[in-house]
């Protein structure tokens, strides 16, 4: 019975006919006008029309001030001028049922596949499936690429609990838009390979087949024509390494449970949509991490940020951070960041930012940043 259920599930996911909901899909017939000559010509030289959209975002940053990573901190990158990374995006429709997105970052640490995934977006029952390497749906901010955020850094809570690149990995994601007429709601379930302890502060694989399981529910509602709100709740469950029990001469697997909540409120007068807008986003996270089999570390963190667009090309914003540590719920650090950003065009941003962090030992770190990002390639969709 269980095998039959598994077979049905696999059939549902794999069958192209079910993907399509399209009477022409999978018919295998050549389109009208398709000539053998075109086939020969195509074999000699492929048309550029079918090439993927190629874009690149450059992220240059200058900073001044004294870096102070605090007790146990490793954040010591502090050159005056930093070419932080170039993010190359390759995006295209793969076939009638799926699309592929690749984001490759080239930076000081070399070339890295930041994300690369295939999305089947024509599934029935309001489903979409993603496979590949991707940033998980734990909260809203985790999925954002740092060059595309307003900030010169990632919020302290994000770095302390999810790492400098966020919680990501190769895996599978299933998203279901909950059918209803009143409000957009989405439920996402994901499994990604568990990171190694050097890659993520919260999770550490105990074995080769270890996974981190992520779930997220989110809802969006228009409050009025100008105001709207998104709320979300997330959870991530995985292992936090192993502990050797000297009494029983055995190994115990330790676990981490992360829970998150986020709220985003936006305002924009659509009659003047290019001139003024406002958004406020807050994310909070609670962590329960096994330090040992008998000792659980409970800790938490949050950040809150506001952005106000006061003219067509100008934004200003602030962010407040408060965070503890996954392995220590008794210490905390906090910080505040403020910025003003000028965009000569949609494809270039120049941002002056100031950040102060009060480390857990009471010492301060004061830094000023000049961040510029520049984007070449096709006009991408504006993130929402």
């Amino acid at each position: 019975m269980r095998r039959r259920t598994t077979f049905l599930l696999v059939s549902l996911l794999v069958s192209p006919c079910l993907f399509a909901q399209d009477p022409l899909a999978g018919s295998g017939t050549a389109p009208a006008g398709y000539a053998p000559e075109a086939q020969v010509s195509g074999a000699m030289q492929a048309s550029n029309v079918l090439n993927p959209n190629v874009s690149a975002i450059g992220w240059f940053q200058a900073e001044t001030g004294h870096r102070n990573p605090g007790p146990g901190g490793t954040d010591v990158e502090g050159d005056s001028f930093q070419m932080k990374e170039v993010e190359v995006g390759l995006q295209a429709i793969v076939d009638p049922w799926s699309r592929a997105d690749f984001f490759i970052s080239v930076g000081r640490e070399g070339v890295d596949l930041e994300e690369g995934y295939l999305t089947w977006y024509r599934l029935p029952f309001d489903l979409a499936v993603k496979v590949g390497k991707f940033k998980t749906s734990f909260g809203r901010f985790n999925r954002m690429h740092t060059p595309e955020t307003p900030f010169a850094d990632r919020p302290l809570m994000q770095r302390n609990y999810l790492g400098s690149e966020g919680l990501n990995g190769p895996g599978v994601s299933l998203s279901w838009q909950i059918p209803n007429d009143f409000m957009f709601m989405d439920l996402t379930a994901e499994a990604v390979s568990s990171p190694r302890d050097t890659e993520n502060p919260s999770f550490s694989r105990a074995g080769e087949k270890d996974n981190v399981y992520v779930g997220r529910w989110s809802a969006f509602a228009d409050v009025s024509e100008s105001w709207n709100a998104t709320i979300g709740a997330s959870a991530a469950l995985g292992h936090a390494g192993e502990e050797f029990d000297t009494v029983n001469n055995s190994t115990r697997t330790l676990s981490t449970h992360l829970y998150g909540a986020d709220v985003t409120i936006r305002w924009k007068n659509i009659r003047r949509s290019i001139y003024h807008s406002f958004s406020w986003m807050t994310e909070a996270l609670w962590s329960h991490r096994d330090a040992t089999a008998a000792n659980v570390v409970n800790s938490h963190g949050f950040f809150s940020t506001m952005d106000y667009q006061f003219a067509q090309r100008w934004h200003t914003g602030v962010r407040y951070d408060f965070t503890q540590f996954p392995d220590d719920g008794t210490r905390h650090e906090s910080g505040q960041l403020a910025y003003v950003t000028y965009s000569p065009s949609e494809f270039n941003q120049l941002s002056l930012q100031g950040r102060q962090v009060q480390r857990s030992d009471g010492t301060l770190e004061d830094l000023m940043f000049f961040k510029t990002t520049f984007n070449i390639g096709p006009h991408g969709a504006h993130p929402f």
């Binding site: 699309r99 977006y121 489903l127 007429d181 969006f220 659509i270 065009s345």
Partner: protein
Amino acid sequence: MKLRQLFVLFTALVLPAAAFAKNVQVITTTEDLASIAFEIGGAHADVMSIAKGYQDPHFVDAKPSFLLKLKKADLLVVVGLELEVGWLPSLLTNARNSKILPGSAGFLQASDGCNVLQKPTGAIDRSMGDIHPDGNPHYWLDPENGRIIARHMASKLAELDPANAGDYQKNLAAFETKLTAKEKEWSALATFFAGVKVITYHNSFPNFAKAFNLNIINHIEPKPGIPPSPAHVQALEAQIKAEKVPLILVEPYFDDKLSGKIARDTGATMLTFPPSVGGSPAVKTYFDLFDVDLKMIAEALGKGGRQ
């Protein structure tokens, strides 16, 4: 008596269902397309637009609430020519509705067959501003393009809903008859200001200018999507004075403070000029769009004549 009650109950339950058989659910990206779809679809189509007429159609937030509408759509009609490139692709990818994806039966690009102007020739890049590689997307502002769009819609609706194909053809015929009559009125009105020089904020009106013989000599935006610099404003004011340009047309979603200042400095008249249905409260239909716009120009130039 009991039989009669049963009959009444049956009638009450079944007849409304038959009478209100499911209409074709049409989503358009702009209110101009929605207005034409409403004329052609008539009683058999429920029509909704994503962008409002008073909203810049280049910059629409891809809000998840639009997905609820797109998910149920049978037909999506888009302007195309990359007008919606900043927001529609992500909506379509997430709409989970195969019927309305490009290449599917429920997707209609309204620009097909229309007279599209300003197709760039030669190499293009972003130093030219936010240009559209396939031509100027504001083509609905030529009523003859409205006729072509209406024909596309009638054909597409008949394909999706063959049972009512006859009604769509009748609605199309009525639309074309009214359009032909209106075009005569509009042409007669436009002769009073033929060749008049105008400035527009964005490059939204080349089709309108061609249809009604206006002479657009410059824009407040130096390049599409690029805000005006003080040097450009200064040069523009000099040009307006030198060439005695009487009119500055400003789309309702652009800031009218700078345009108003240019008008005051030069003596030109600034009009908040709707480029779309819904762009002002008076513009409720595609026909209203030309009625209102042409009347505004005529009144600004003085009783239908040139100043």
